[in-house]
Structure formats: structure tokens, C-alpha cells
């Protein structure tokens, strides 16, 4: 059974601080997706990474896929209250099979 371990589970920081969320596995994934979910809403796709070592930036968010495609990280620079939410990582295995989801990191950014 493939698992994705996300850490930390909870994170509460002050506005302006930097943070990193990790997504780790012993399995290799063909792709890795990151989502943000706000209370009462569905997860919204932030990024998909598919190549080992790939780095993608989305404004203040930087996503990295590990060289071996077993892990990923999300780094937020100068966090803002609007970044508050549940961050989920999900690994793709192969076509026509479900994604493997991490349990999520609940981020709270305090003004």
C-alpha cells in the first residue's frame, strides 16, 4: 500500500513568516499534486509536478518534486492570512488508478 506522509499536521504562524510543508513516501510517484482547501469548499489544485527535481513557483509559493520522485515540499514565503487553509498533497501512480492522498497540513496564518 502506497502512503504519503505529510508534515507537520498543524501549523500556526504569524503573518510575514516563512514555512515549509513536506510530503514524503517510500514509493515512487509519476506525478505529485498540491491542493489548498478552505472550510466548506472543495480542494483547489495549486500545481502538478511530474519530473524529478522539478521546481515550480506560484507567486509566494514554491513547490519542489524530489529527485527520486518520492517526496515533495511546499514553501511559502512571507505568509499572509489568505494562505490559511488545508494543504493536501496527492501522488499519481498510473493511469486509471486513484491518487494517493496525504492527510493534509492545516495552516493558520495570524495577522
Amino acid at each position: 500500500t502506497q502512503l504519503l506522509e505529510q508534515s507537520p499536521q498543524f501549523l500556526s504562524i504569524q503573518e510575514g513568516e516563512n514555512l515549509t510543508v513536506y510530503c514524503n513516501s517510500s514509493s515512487v510517484f509519476s506525478s505529485l499534486q498540491w491542493y489548498r482547501q478552505e472550510p466548506g469548499e472543495g480542494p483547489v489544485l495549486l500545481v502538478t509536478v511530474v519530473t524529478g527535481g522539478e521546481v515550480k513557483k506560484l507567486k509566494r509559493l514554491t513547490f519542489q518534486f524530489g529527485d527520486a520522485r518520492k517526496d515533495s515540499s511546499l514553501h511559502i514565503t512571507a505568509a499572509q492570512p489568505g494562505d490559511t487553509g488545508l494543504y493536501l498533497c496527492a501522488g499519481g501512480v498510473r493511469r486509471n488508478t486513484p491518487l494517493v492522498f496525504g492527510k493534509g497540513t492545516r495552516l493558520s496564518v495570524i495577522a
Partner: protein, 115 residues
Amino acid sequence: DVKVTQSSRYLVKRTGEKVFLECVQDMDHENMFWYRQDPGLGLRLIYFSYDVKMKEKGDIPEGYSVSREKKERFSLILESASTNQTSMYLCASRGWASGTGETQYFGPGTRLLVL
């Protein structure tokens, strides 16, 4: 702009009622999924479908059934609703795109309360 829509944002039903949750995607995706999300338990897969009229059980299929008569529509059916099916239900669809590979999008969710 990709879109996955769900028929209701909020539903209140009585124990024993038959409940239909509808999901429609406009991206011509082959794969569609139904999850439920509960505090502390994360996302749990109920059923998925990789083609019209095809369905596969996920991790927690008991008490649910699905229907996929058309490619764009995937329905979740609670045959006889019970209070332990009170949850947030999320539909998703996934397809392949050049540059990003297979990418999955979620609908806005249906919050179901069974009394």
C-alpha cells in the same frame, strides 16, 4: 476553465431516505471519483469510474452505489441514508494534459446531514 459541478452544496435528509448526489464535468475526462471527507480521517475514496458504465470500489463502498451512464456525469447513490453517512462529499475528475500529465480537479462539495 476546468469545471466540476455538484448538484447541491447542502442537503438535509432523513434516515432511510434514498439520496442522489450528481456530479458533472466539462473537461471530457475519463476518470471520475467520489470521496467523503471527515475531520481527522482525511479524504476517503468511495467509488471511482475510468470509463462510461465502468465502476470500481474504493476504500469505503459499503452503503453506496454509483452510476455512470454518460462520460460527463457520475452519480453517487445512498440507498438508505444513515446518520453515519453525514459528511462532506467531494466529486473529482481527472484527465491527461500535455505538460502536466494526469491532473485531478474537485467539485465544490456537498455537505450532507442525515437526521
